[in-house]
């Protein structure tokens, strides 16, 4: 591997370490304490990194063995349907290893890897900002309700979210989300409003709900898109670094095109690559390294769309 892929890989690993630190794993980095962390997406990302950092992989496995009851099997199953084959395949081994050392039955399990369980992190309460998703699950159950509440907590503008919109982000079916919204409305937690021809839900009293939770993060990054971007960038830089320059440029433009949707969700500008693209590769790798570095260090990306 050359400099670009090594740097990118190291930043991806640092991002994962920092996020796991936010979920309670002791680590020397911790840049995401004030950001909500999505456990299932982080686990898929960690599985994708495979052996890039064996200690990270094993610490994350240990965390899952100890706190796996706060993970959603249904959500994993739904999320895996839209993940890349590389992620699905990597998760198979990760999932099997966790299942082999716990009472969990995470989906898509294949063959467990060699792993020796160790004492897990000592957590008496999910009281950190970054643990809000787990806190909600501990309080409301590992189900669609907890995901709806997390999504609506992140809804700073207060315009509410539709069922279809929430289902994609929550990783539950529209039916699950709709049923849970009705129940939460009956329970006095949500309010249904009509915006033009669309029904949306929002928290009935978001300030009271935040006070009840006591620990609400400043930011709810769209981790699904962030991880998709990091994974594809890493795959592309690894696979294309030894290719002829003209093919590198073609691969760079291809991946940027493929990532358009996720970059929009993450509100990040794509790199400015000239077409016909004769120096696209270096512009692309510079952009990728800066972007992943900003994410790894918990900063707003320098390419953030204002």
């Amino acid at each position: 591997m050359n400099g670009s892929s090594l740097r990118l890989e190291s930043q991806a690993v640092e991002l994962a370490w920092s996020l796991w630190a936010g979920l309670g794993i002791p680590a020397w980095v911790g840049h995401h304490e004030s950001q909500a962390i999505d456990p299932e997406h982080l686990i898929l990302f960690t599985a994708f990194l495979r052996d890039d950092d064996p200690r990270l992989r094993d610490e994350a496995t240990t965390w899952c063995v100890h706190f796996g009851r706060y993970l959603s099997t249904v959500r994993f199953r739904n999320l895996l349907m839209t993940e890349a084959p590389t992620v699905r395949s990597a998760f198979g081994e990760f999932s099997a290893t966790i299942n082999a050392h716990s009472r969990l039955a995470l989906p898509a399990a294949t063959t467990p890897r060699a792993y020796r369980p160790t004492a897990g992190p000592s957590l008496s309460e999910f009281d950190q900002h970054s643990q809000v998703a787990l806190r909600l699950r501990a309080a409301f159950g590992v189900n669609a309700r907890a995901e709806i509440l997390r999504i609506l907590l992140a809804e700073a503008a207060g315009h509410g979210r539709s069922v279809a919109d929430m289902a994609t982000e929550a990783g539950f079916t529209k039916r699950n989300i709709a049923d849970a919204c009705v129940a939460l409305e009956m329970g006095g937690v949500l309010l249904e409003t009509r915006v033009r021809n669309q029904f949306r839900y929002r928290l009935r009293d978001s300030e009271a709900f935040k006070r009840f939770l006591g620990s609400v993060p400043d930011a709810f990054p769209p981790w699904r898109s962030v991880f998709h971007v990091v994974e594809r960038l890493l795959e592309t830089v690894r696979s294309a670094e030894s290719l002829p320059a003209q093919v590198q440029q073609i691969e760079a433009l291809k991946v940027v095109d493929e990532l358009t949707g996720d970059l929009q969700i993450a509100r990040v500008y794509p790199p400015q690559l000239k077409r016909p693209a004769f120096d696209a590769w270096s512009a692309f790798t510079d952009w990728a390294i800066h972007l992943v570095s900003d994410w790894a260090e918990g900063r707003s990306p320098r390419y953030l769309i204002a």
């Binding site: 002829p244 093919v247 440029q249 073609i250 291809k254």
Partner: protein, 193 residues
Amino acid sequence: MSMNADQLDRVLGALGATLATRGLHYELVAIGGSGLMLLGVVSRATTDLDVVALVRDGAYVAAEPLPAPLSEAVEDVGRAFGLSAQWVNAGPTELLRFGLPDGFVERVQTRTFGGLKLHFAGRFDQVCFKVYAAADQGLLSKHVADLRALEPSSDELLAAARWSTTHDTSEGYRQELVSLLGSLGVEGADERL
């Protein structure tokens, strides 16, 4: 974006390199302006590469639809060079169904670009296709200019016209052919056809 011969060469080089790095190899048979340009017959710019057939196990087969991995590579290269996603297209593959001119395979000129082997129709076959296209699309079409650039003899034009009547047997088409041949200086075309 339109391409001159150098640009087409570079784009095909990029496509061949992309295919090779993906472990893909394709053999295509091309006709039309791109082929004429690479053969040095015409200098007008082109925007695409017309593919009449794929070569599989040494045999010509219909090019439509192009294999998905090839289409994907074509799109990726097109994106990098500002070309349409279908800059390599199988539009003329219908010609294969009714039959290529006799001896076509022996006359092709072959170039290899990494994972892409391209067989370009030979000069006489280009005359055949251009006669067919020019009679179909009229005397003001680009095909007439291409035909003139190929400098075919009267015998070649007549042979090409006879081949084209195997693709369109209508009397209306025959009249267009006679008119085209006349405009290209073939005397007594109606009787000799």
